[in-house]
């Protein structure tokens, strides 16, 4: 087997994995701020998909403008969900489990009623392929991956250097202590939840042209995101990126030898292996 083939397989794996990292980063950001797992996270991804379908495919707005709009709209939906529901669930793991499963069901049913149960195809925004160094990648995949990487970098810069980003890191490490330094916890929760959902919405917008849009489209990326988070360690943002790279490379290489159904199982194998060695994931704290 040639080196080119291996590199090509890795590249294919990484492409989509970067988008799943976006979904995972949102989940883990929300977990680190509110200490809850939002099982309806995939439904915010689905919202991003439908926004993209209507704004881009139906109304014909520019793809990147649509993407920006999807991020904002879904982020806003996240803020509303936090104010109405999740603010009352801070630290209440079990309540959050039940409530967010309920929200998942309500959002999926609402999507079925409003948009129909059938898949809605979103045309590719970009055609053609790029060849370089003996590798081939479609322009669409390239745009999707690079956009995801730009969003990941934006999140990093925001958390590292901005004032609200600093407050988020403080709340993640010790919410009471952050409050005593003058951080408005309610504001940080709403903002953090909104940003987490915005990332999911962006991911939904990026993958809408790759897969079709449907009420149940959130399931696959969320499963991938959970695999990534468990590999990387719950609540760890660097862990999510490394987990995504690991999952992407395993799936990419695996696709050389097996069909896509079998490839989907590989992720779980990696999870089991990682947890055997490090029960809290690669970057999981004590």
């Amino acid at each position: 087997m040639s080196i080119d083939l291996l590199v090509q397989a890795l590249l294919n794996g990484f492409g989509l994995a970067m988008v799943y990292v976006l979904v995972a980063l949102g989940l883990t950001l929300i977990f680190s701020i509110l200490e809850i797992i939002n099982f309806a996270h995939g439904e915010f991804y689905m919202l991003g998909g439908y926004v993209t379908y209507y704004v881009f495919a139906v109304f014909g707005v520019n793809y990147f403008a649509t993407l920006g709009f999807a991020i904002l709209a879904v982020g806003l939906a996240g803020v509303v969900a936090e104010r109405l529901i999740f603010r009352y669930l801070r630290g209440k793991t079990l309540n959050a489990f039940i409530v967010s499963l309920g929200l998942l069901w309500v959002m999926q049913a609402s999507a079925q009623l409003s948009f129909g149960v059938l898949d809605k195809p979103v045309p590719s925004a970009f055609s053609g392929i790029v060849r370089a160094f003996g590798l081939v990648i479609s322009v669409e995949r390239l745009v999707v991956s690079l956009s995801a990487i730009v969003l990941i970098a934006a999140l990093y810069l925001f958390l590292r250097w901005s004032r609200p980003g600093r407050a988020m890191r403080a709340v993640a490490q010790d919410a009471d202590a952050a409050a005593l330094q003058g951080v408005d916890i309610e504001l940080v929760s709403a903002l953090g939840f909104g940003i987490g959902c915005a990332l999911a919405g962006g991911a939904g917008g990026l993958l809408a042209p790759v897969f079709a849009v449907s009420p149940a489209m959130g399931a696959l990326p969320v499963v991938k995101a959970f695999i990534i988070i468990i590999i990387g360690g719950m609540g760890s943002l660097p862990g999510a990126v490394v987990g995504g790279l690991l999952l992407g490379s395993v799936e990419g290489l695996g696709s050389l030898f097996m069909g896509s159904a079998a490839v989907n199982v590989l992720g779980f194998l990696v999870v089991i292996l990682v947890l055997l060695v490090r029960p809290r994931g690669l970057f999981g704290g004590a």
Partner: protein, 235 residues
């Protein structure tokens, strides 16, 4: 400057703090001593907004802050160094200190305060780029106090600053508290199980047992009280 009137805190139906009244005047050092579970920390958490009081009133600088959330209380000049240090373990010493000034917008003033704090705690200055989680217990306590000073407070609340420290370090903390009070005119409300230390720095003190204030007065008077001697000063 600070006035707690009939303050109560309930967890469920259990009263942890039961009609407690405490005052601290400008520039004063006041201590609350008492055994484990007396309700000292609960009192402090109620007055800085971390728990809702179930009754009573908290006045600070003439404002009723009983129902305020913590971030607004800090902005009013009340700074709380909590029990158990509660640093941001993954942030460096400097980042922790900067978090203490989170609500201050004047960069020059913050830089000045930072300089003062690093001067007061040379050991923190040496370790400014070290993650707080890797500091020794004594250094962590210094950082907790330093972080609380970064907001430029009019009043400082310290919850068991001597906990788990060797006698030499306890004396150092004591000197630091006194010098902050003297040089900056910062009022201090100090909660301690180490009654000897507390009664040595404070001008006045309250003794708290099972949610109530059972004794109060000048530190000199309490040092001579038979009850305090027997229960807190080891006979």
């Amino acid at each position: 400057m600070l006035e707690l009137t009939d303050l109560s805190v309930h967890y469920g139906t259990v009263a942890a703090v039961d009609s407690v009244s405490v005052t601290v005047a400008e520039g004063e050092i006041v201590a609350i001593i008492g055994p484990n579970g007396a309700g000292k920390t609960s009192t402090l958490r109620a007055l800085s907004g971390l728990v809702r009081p179930s009754g009573g009133r908290v006045m600070f600088r003439g404002t009723d802050i009983s129902r305020w959330r913590p971030h607004r209380i800090v902005a009013l000049g009340l700074s709380h160094a909590p029990e158990g240090r509660r640093l941001f373990p993954q942030m460096t010493v400097l980042e922790n200190l900067r978090m203490g000034a989170y609500r201050r917008r004047d960069r020059d003033a913050v830089a000045r305060t930072l300089g003062e704090v690093l001067e007061r705690f040379p050991r923190l200055a040496e370790r400014r780029h070290q993650p707080a989680g890797t500091l020794s217990g004594g250094e962590q306590q210094m950082l907790t106090i330093g972080r609380a000073l970064m907001s430029g407070p009019a009043m400082l609340i310290l919850d068991e600053p001597s906990f788990g420290l060797a006698p030499l370090l306890v004396r150092e903390i004591r000197a630091i508290v006194q010098s902050i009070n003297r040089e900056r005119g910062v009022a201090v409300l100090l909660v301690e199980q180490n009654a000897r230390m507390a009664l040595a720095v404070a001008g006045r003190a309250y003794v708290m047992e099972t949610g109530r204030i059972v004794l109060s007065g000048s530190a000199a008077m309490l040092r001579e009280s038979p009850h305090v001697k027997a229960a807190y000063l080891g006979g």
